[in-house]
Amino acid sequence: MSDDELYFRELAAGMPAARLEPLPPDLWPRIAASHASRQRRRRWRRLATGGSVVALVAGLAFSLTAWRHAVAPDIDWQSRAQALELQLDSLPMPAAKNPMAQLAESELAHLDSNLQAAYDRGAARGDMDALWQRRCELLDALLSVRRQQTLSTRI
């Protein structure tokens, strides 16, 4: 113990005890009210934070879906197939059949019957799209073979 501590204790001991100040009677109600209000604010903050997270996740999910749509836009395979068919019709028929062209034509015929069957049974749009897409691919192949043959004939 230092001399300073001893001194103050002696000094305080030589004086009358400090008068105890009464506590304000409304202090506890004020503290309790402040505490309740802080708790409410915290709950709101938690709710707001939770809500923000949900909104953020929903926003991200929406953006992802939108992005997927942007990356893989809906293609009207049916219209595209019809356009390819018109292009094919505009080309002269080759004198001799190319084996590749024969293969494609045979598959096209098979695909057409599948398409008809799909329409008849009221197939889902996704199934129809897949068939039309395949038809486009076959028409594309046929078109390139036919163009090749036309070019060779001219030369």
């Binding site: 400090a18 100040e21 304000p24």
Partner: protein, 190 residues
Amino acid sequence: MNDKPATGFAQDIDAMTLARAQRGDMAAFAQLYQRYARACFQLALRLTGQRQPAEDLVHEAFLKMMDTIGSYRGDAPFGAWFKRLVANTGIDWLRRQRHIAGVDAEEALEHASAMPVDTAGIVDADALLARLPPRARAIVVLHELEGYTHAELAALFGQSESYSKSILARALKRLQGLAATATSTSQVAL
């Protein structure tokens, strides 16, 4: 054997009330207030030297206690833990009031020593303490009455230990002078 019942921060609290308070039970908090509010107010009055700021400090200290009681692990008696929280809240309060940061304690003591000694109203040790500048008063209260070490005070005030020792020594010298004058004045009056 000392049969004197514990008072102030030395009072204990039962484990059940403590556990309820840690769960946020308002009735348990009210019991803690009943038990420690007076001691808390007394310490706040000593630190601030004024009634209204002392009430504000008690208000703030209880709110802090209610927020942090969950972290109380029982390593020290609850009263000691709470007393430290009140003292730290008092230091923060003084800092916010710029009583500490704005005015240098040595300068304030110098200024106080140069003023004519007015001992009217010095009726007890607390009234004597109230005559000290805020930082010097806080150092005397925390070191002499609340048991803070100079190392702890140095950390709290962001100063060296020798600074805390110097302020304490000068503050006590000032108190000695005031007490002597107050005593002789009261004897003359009689």
